[in-house]
């Protein structure tokens, strides 16, 4: 992977390095308490949720000795703005390596904002089968919901304005250190 710089300076940094590790550890603990009594699986949403899902898998497996399957979900084909005349976004990999019907699923994304991504993800998962349940885990909830969706596990709430964007930058993406920061929205969003 090409090395990435931290990019343009953020408006404000919310959290870095070890603090983020601690929050992810707490999230893992919450998932174990609520779901750890029997087999469950994780699904990370492309792209922000995927690295988060792998980290959670590692922590949960170390703490419980369970084997936790992890799926990868791209929601592009389920977006509600796909036919709005914009250039088509790149469809990335979807890979759900377990039987969805009957399974207990924790859906993972980095930032919860309008709720539209999660709506799309729920529809996408349900097209694979009928899960026993789906719980939602997010690292950051920044508000401004447009659909009635709330997370079951939330790492932190961050107050933002609508012309800001929250980015979770993890080492796995090529950044030199983990960072959660608020940026001014560019035209591209």
């Amino acid at each position: 992977m090409e090395a990435r710089t931290q990019g343009p300076p953020p408006k404000k940094a919310i959290m870095t390095g070890g603090e983020i590790e601690r929050v992810i550890g707490e999230l893992a603990g919450g998932v174990i308490r609520q779901c750890g009594d029997s087999q469950f699986s994780l699904i990370g949403i492309q792209t922000g949720g995927i690295h988060l899902a792998s980290r959670l898998k590692k922590i949960i497996e170390e703490k419980t000795g369970m084997t936790i399957p992890v799926g990868v979900l791209d929601i592009t084909l389920y977006r509600d703005d796909i036919m709005m005349g914009l250039p088509q976004p790149l469809v990335k990999k979807t890979d759900i390596p377990f039987e969805v019907t009957g399974s207990r699923i924790v859906l993972i994304d980095d930032v919860l904002y309008t709720g539209r991504t999660i709506r799309a993800a729920l529809d996408a998962i349900i097209d694979f089968g009928r899960p026993k349940f789906i719980k939602l885990l997010v690292l950051v909830d920044r508000g401004f919901r447009e659909y009635p969706i709330q997370a079951d596990f939330t790492g932190m709430f961050v107050e933002t304005s609508e012309n800001e964007t929250v980015k979770v930058q993890l080492k796995e993406m090529g950044f030199s250190e983990d960072r959660i920061a608020v940026f001014e929205k560019t035209k591209k969003g």
Binding site: D74, L77, Y78, I82, M83, M84, G85, L86, P87, Q88, L90, V91, K92, K93, T94, D95, D123, A124, D127, F128, G129
Partner: protein
């Protein structure tokens, strides 16, 4: 990347072709699901107008459209008013009045889709026009090569047979040369168009020269229906001089793959032991056809609601 029509691979850049192939790889997963459907193209109407016989291509486009939740209407020449004497332009304009968003056409006259793309306001996809181009076949062939060989740049690809009448050959030549492959062609002198070298290919007099050391051997169908005269004495002689058998195939690289766009004339351009052999990827080509067409329809659909 946004484009309104897919009329041919001529003029497409390496980046554009790569984008389509990359998308096709991800679309392949949908065909492996239990519920083989995503809602992406809901509300989009796709007209399939096949004025020339087809099984693979029409079925493949139709499945691709349905897996993306588009509605399809399918017409064939014999069932349309063309058989009552209506012109192609009138028939298509009437079909257009029913507001399809994407118009997929196969026609025996080269350039028909290009003409229609100037008349119709919807997107036009060429599903094979006469002896000119068959872009989605070229794309699925390249997807299959990439899958088996890891990449296309630098590959030695031999295309053998009736080059003159083959739109598959032409689309592959345009696509493969754009992607940096080295293309050699061979066939009876009567079926190799003059000046084809200008498209950036090497012409080999003997099949053996073309096959030797190649990574991919693509055999073309002898297209009796397009031959207005006699281009070679007998099919038996054709098979002896230009057919692919195990002996000829042994000249290719050890891991070379064998391709054929179908329908095959078994025992003419390809011997059954090669067609059904371990190096044949002919059925992979068909499976990749659905994925490539899904990718093309997906990318084209960006235009459908433009300006709304």
């Amino acid at each position: 990347m946004a484009f309104k029509h897919l009329l041919g691979l001529e003029g497409l850049s390496r980046e554009q072709i790569t984008r389509i192939l990359d998308q096709a790889v991800e679309f392949k997963e949908i065909s492996k699901r239990k519920i083989k459907k995503v809602p992406t193209l809901r509300g989009i109407t796709i007209a399939l107008f096949f004025v020339e016989a087809s099984t693979r291509t029409r079925t493949s486009f139709e499945i691709a459209a349905k897996r993306l939740s588009a509605d399809t209407i399918s017409l064939t020449a014999s069932a349309s008013s063309l058989s009552k004497g209506e012109t192609l332009i009138d028939t298509t304009k009437n079909l257009e009045a029913m507001a399809p968003d994407i118009f997929i056409i196969r026609h025996s006259v080269s350039g028909s889709p290009h003409m229609l793309s100037k008349i119709l306001s919807c997107s036009v996809v060429n599903a094979g026009d006469g002896t000119h181009e068959h872009p989605t076949q070229g794309l699925l062939d390249m997807m299959t090569m990439r899958e088996h060989k890891g990449g296309i740049e630098g590959l030695d690809v031999a295309i053998i047979g009736d080059i003159m009448h083959s739109r598959v050959a032409r689309s592959n030549i345009f696509g493969l040369t754009a992607m940096g492959a080295k293309v050699r062609i061979s066939g009876p002198a009567t079926l190799v168009p003059r000046d084809i070298e200008k498209l950036g290919v090497t012409v080999c007099k003997r099949v053996e020269e073309a096959v030797e050391g190649s990574d991919v051997v693509m055999m073309l169908r002898i297209q009796k229906e397009r031959m207005a005269g006699d281009f070679f004495p007998t099919t038996r002689e054709y098979s002896r001089e230009f057919g692919l058998n195990l002996k000829r195939l042994s000249l290719a690289k050890k891991d070379a793959i064998v391709m054929h766009p179908g329908p095959m004339n078994r025992g003419v351009e390809i011997s059954p032991d090669v067609a059904d052999g371990t190096r044949s990827v002919i059925l992979d080509q068909v499976a990749n056809g659905v994925a490539v067409r899904m990718a093309v329809l997906y990318l084209l659909s960006a235009h459908v609601l433009e300006g709304v």
